[in-house]
Symmetry: C2
Subunit: 353 residues, 2 copies
Amino acid sequence: MNLDAFATLLCDWCLEVAPGQQVLLVATTLAEPLIAALHRAILSRGAWPLLRLSPPGLAAEFYRMASDAQLDGFPPLELTEVEQIDAYLRIDAPDNTRALAGVDPATITRAARARQAIQEARLERRWCATIWPTPALAQQAAMSTEDYARFLAGALFLDQPDPVAAWDALSNRQAGLVERLQHAREVRIEAEGTDLRLSVEGRTWINSDGRRNMPSGEVFTGPLERSANGYVRFTLPSAPRGVEVEGVELTFVDGEVLAARAARGETYLQEALRTDAGARFLGELGIGTNTGIDRATGHILLDEKIAGTVHLALGRSYPETGGVNASALHWDLICDLRSGGRITLDGESLAIE
Amino acid sequence: MNLDAFATLLCDWCLEVAPGQQVLLVATTLAEPLIAALHRAILSRGAWPLLRLSPPGLAAEFYRMASDAQLDGFPPLELTEVEQIDAYLRIDAPDNTRALAGVDPATITRAARARQAIQEARLERRWCATIWPTPALAQQAAMSTEDYARFLAGALFLDQPDPVAAWDALSNRQAGLVERLQHAREVRIEAEGTDLRLSVEGRTWINSDGRRNMPSGEVFTGPLERSANGYVRFTLPSAPRGVEVEGVELTFVDGEVLAARAARGETYLQEALRTDAGARFLGELGIGTNTGIDRATGHILLDEKIAGTVHLALGRSYPETGGVNASALHWDLICDLRSGGRITLDGESLAIE
């Protein structure tokens, strides 16, 4: 992992760090090497790195120990700081991707609700989320830590001579794709076990080019809520909140899920669909374009970006797409088109790789 | 090291953590085990732990890299946060006690001056400084890390059944000592190479009982600025800013240093005396009382607390003592009285161990 190249990419492409800015860095202490590189990079741009490192595992401890007042509140300084910073970087660097397995999801939701003001203030800042290759993430991907670090470097384009230029090129390619998609009314997705039609007419496609998720590499929109008709088989596994779910098959009629089964994790699937009314409708359609990601590794931030895949999210839409589906759920499920699948726009085939 | 006992001591004796408070914890990542214990202890008291961990070595990097604007400024959020917190704990946990050896002291002074508003706001909060036994501190003490951790536990009274009660007992003993000292007009210090008289008439003695320095164990005041007469040999070594100074001998006439030499580090000594006008006068007289500290380990926070020693500081007084000596210097030098030395108050011997 070329740390200086990674830090440069984060500062110059993702956060556009400028002199005098206050840049908040949130990570576990496992990401120390990247934090040290970012400290140098941010200082050398005349800005202030503000470090928020935690020993891994403290989040689970908080949920286990918190009183009612702590679950329903937050330290006022946390809100003050997101209101005052210029940029925010979160580095996912867990020591155990299943650390929250024993925590009641209702507890997590409750605490998240209490902290909503912080989350909203944060989204108004320049923000980005990235990944540091810890042993736990490598294990989840069934790879050695060294191999995983190499894989991640490829996903970040750090193996290319000028990573910032590579992301700029991806951004331009995606802009062309968005231009094409923007004129489409109907999207049809076909693959073995899949034949689904969606309307995207009048919706906005977003060029996700690594400024907010690093790595990214997708274009996405919110399909019309009542438009999905047909069936889809999600061929890549998913691990929402640490529960492994595989072989999900959904049938849609006028936007709503009418039949649902899973080869593994069926109980979780059925519960997710019962979250609320919006959970049975689609909130997102995305197309992965990152050619540096060639396989599923169990991390949704990476899996949904694989070039040659599409993903659909049950639940909440992103408002910037024009999507209006509301739900507490946003669950991305991925369909691999790389062996014979295809996307057609108003009957015309779309080249996606 | 009993981490829970250490965290309890810091929460209940030093910081008096109460529900709803925001408690800022500043340390290097080497102190992770103590940070994790403090996270638990602070949460369980209904308060909010706010972690400020840095990889070791970033301070030196800042001095090396900072632009003029960075040396003469600070991130506004740092001031905001010390204004909003309820308590502040700094944990000294270096990976190298000589990390700043190559940094121009003028650079450090310049940055400290720029950050003075932060420092002042911090002193208005409940604050405490403590030590985590890193390999670097053990090395400086010429001990194995395990032995150093055991030594430090003794200095913190963590080897006693109830450390909080032990500090309370020390506080009461020191209160008696302060009561006695408060009536004294003249203090005379005698040992081999030392016979010094100081007036402390009208000055306030402070009971330093571990609330601000943990460990502590000293009582101190500011002697009358023009009162020191005689000579003193400081028998314990000192390492201000990483420079080793040993065998300092000073002769005072009417408060002022008229002759000064050192067996080692003489150049540093002469430069220190030339810092400014106040650097040639004493700002502090302290008496160590910590019976858990039986030897010098090169850390001034510990060395000056050794039971059976006195220390004198060249330079700045602490205003709460009534002392008025002003200087950019505050250099504590220690005289060991344990082999035949003594303190007399207005001609009457003081039992100090």
